[in-house]
Symmetry: C2
Subunit: 339 residues, 2 copies
């Protein structure tokens, strides 16, 4: 078997320098680096991750935990996962996708088997038992999302306050005054206490009050049918309604098509703004939905950075990043109609 010493001799450098290159522990001049890599190639030297990991007590493997056993990742979820995998790879880490249940019962095994340097959590709930378990066990972790009180935690999340405020600024600027918020149904599902709903509702109530307007908040089944039925309910209760903000991407197309059926077609007679969603999904509606898009790539990147910065001790303060959704105006929003 080829050793580091063989590589060092071939490249004409010290064994320590070879070790710096293999372990990435110290910067080496580019031409020296190239010479060492060439020597390793010529000698068939394999950088064995395991041996290195045992020596350094670091594996450079992190796990992304998603409660996939209980709840399927939504459509926006995949872009976040992809972006996290790329960001981890860029920093020399590997991302393991670990299916765990919401109650966190597999957490201890994950942390104590010696494979993982740290874990990243997705689909975080307000009271998240996985976070409690990780904290108890003393593991290094970061969240994509936030718990109810995340002040002592590392996280990257959507800035729901700014997202809702910018959405309301846009709709109110178009003259809308009677605006409803439609969430996804959450009682009795694994989404009960789901952070995005809780934070969006709070921001909406506050934002409407700050603008001297009455908030209308409701929820419906995440489906075409759910979207259609909530339009009937809303218009019966509030005939003067002119705009609907939707945090329920599966129901948004149904809202748009039902509005047309009851003689309130968008964008002329009503406006629909689908928030925390993806443009690809908006493009499937007709007309194309105006959306506020989840910063998927940024969430994946900042989530990974929040974890790795802790692992490498390179952070100055606890990483806590909030990123607002970006407004994309398409065919379902327009000036408030004179009813």
């Amino acid at each position: 078997m080829t050793t580091m010493r063989d590589v060092a001799e071939r490249a004409g450098v010290s064994t320590a320098t070879v070790s710096f290159v293999i372990n990435g522990t110290k910067r080496v001049a580019p031409d020296t680096h190239a010479r060492i890599v060439q020597a390793m190639d010529e000698l068939g030297f394999r950088r064995n991750v395991l041996a290195r990991a045992l020596a350094s007590r670091r594996t450079r493997i992190i796990a992304l935990l998603s409660p996939v056993l209980d709840h399927r990742i939504g459509r926006t979820g995949m872009s976040i996962v992809t972006s996290a995998a790329v960001a981890a790879s860029d920093r020399g880490y590997r991302l393991v996708l670990s299916p765990v249940s919401n109650d966190g019962r597999e957490m201890k095994e994950l942390l104590t088997d010696g494979l993982l340097d740290g874990v990243l959590l997705m689909e975080v709930q307000m009271d998240d038992q996985r976070v409690q378990k990780l904290t108890e066990l003393g593991g290094t972790f970061a969240l994509i999302g936030r718990t109810k009180d995340p002040s002592q935690l590392a996280y990257a999340d959507i800035d729901f306050d700014r997202t809702v405020a910018e959405g309301l600024d846009y709709l109110v600027g178009l003259g809308h005054r009677q605006i409803a918020l439609v969430l996804g149904q959450q009682e009795g599902t694994s989404l009960a206490g789901y952070g995005p709903y809780v934070r969006t509702e709070a921001a909406f109530r506050e934002g409407m009050a700050a603008r001297g307007l009455d908030p209308i908040v409701t929820s419906t089944e995440p489906s075409q049918r759910g979207g259609m039925s909530i339009v009937d309910t809303l218009l019966e209760e509030t005939p003067g309604l002119t705009a609907i903000m939707v945090l329920n991407e599966d129901a948004a197309p149904g809202i748009v098509s039902r509005l047309a059926e009851v003689g309130r077609p968008v964008p002329l007679s009503a406006s629909v703004l689908s928030i925390a969603t993806t443009p690809a999904l908006g493009a499937m509606s007709h007309p194309v939905l105006s959306t506020m898009n989840v910063p998927e790539v940024e969430l994946g990147e900042h989530g990974v950075a929040a974890l790795i910065d802790q692992l490498e001790g390179t952070m100055k303060e606890l990483p806590q990043v909030l990123i607002p959704c970006t407004l994309q105006i398409e065919g379902t929003t327009g000036p408030a109609p004179a009813l």
Copy 2:
């Protein structure tokens, strides 16, 4: 540090028996198993994956390669990934999500760094450079999908022949004779030579010919707009067209809505069947799309099994599994109209 011997003494068993439990190499009576696990807990013995991996030369880590740098995983992709992660976990393996490019240039590093036991490929192309690289390098791998000639490869894929045949049986049974197939646009994109398109087109041409019918095959941009424009093109060229089979889930809703606009509403005046897609996506269309659903969970499970069976030498023959999509009749298909 606690050793296996300490655990063995505490549990009153031999060190070999402790090893069977730790490495999962042999079945141990349930009460003995429980006693050993309790002893490990009490002594704080940590089953160290790395030490075990170095000893056995197996890490029980497999990678799922998806060319995410070039092409975003589609909506069906995520369920396959999730199912693969669960299936791997059930067999005591961990699934690493490795972003690699289509040309397979990172393949050598992946295989030679000692971390992975094997790799699973997704979004396989007819001529897939990653497969060539893996074959050259002698790595153990399996495909979710297939190359042009997969006879020597382990894979799990959609049975496009049976899917198209069952779809045609259904449409022809409803009286449709002039049937078009709409694919996604592929030239000049990373989907050029994408297996599902190639196989579906071949099966469609063959199936139509076998039924004495003329095949109409076209493609369009994967969007609402793409779906709408292809309806105009198709009806101009074939006014007697009554049914459209779609392998382009992002365009399907646009096809349905444009048909209504030009006076050919589904299901009364035309039928639309979206194939190799998910019911969740079909439910976003209005009326809800009739679909042939990708067997996502089965593909993930069989793909993982095809890989792990090779790794563990438990297979009798090369695992090659084809699974058809399942027909779900909803609101966009019905008897052929008398035009």
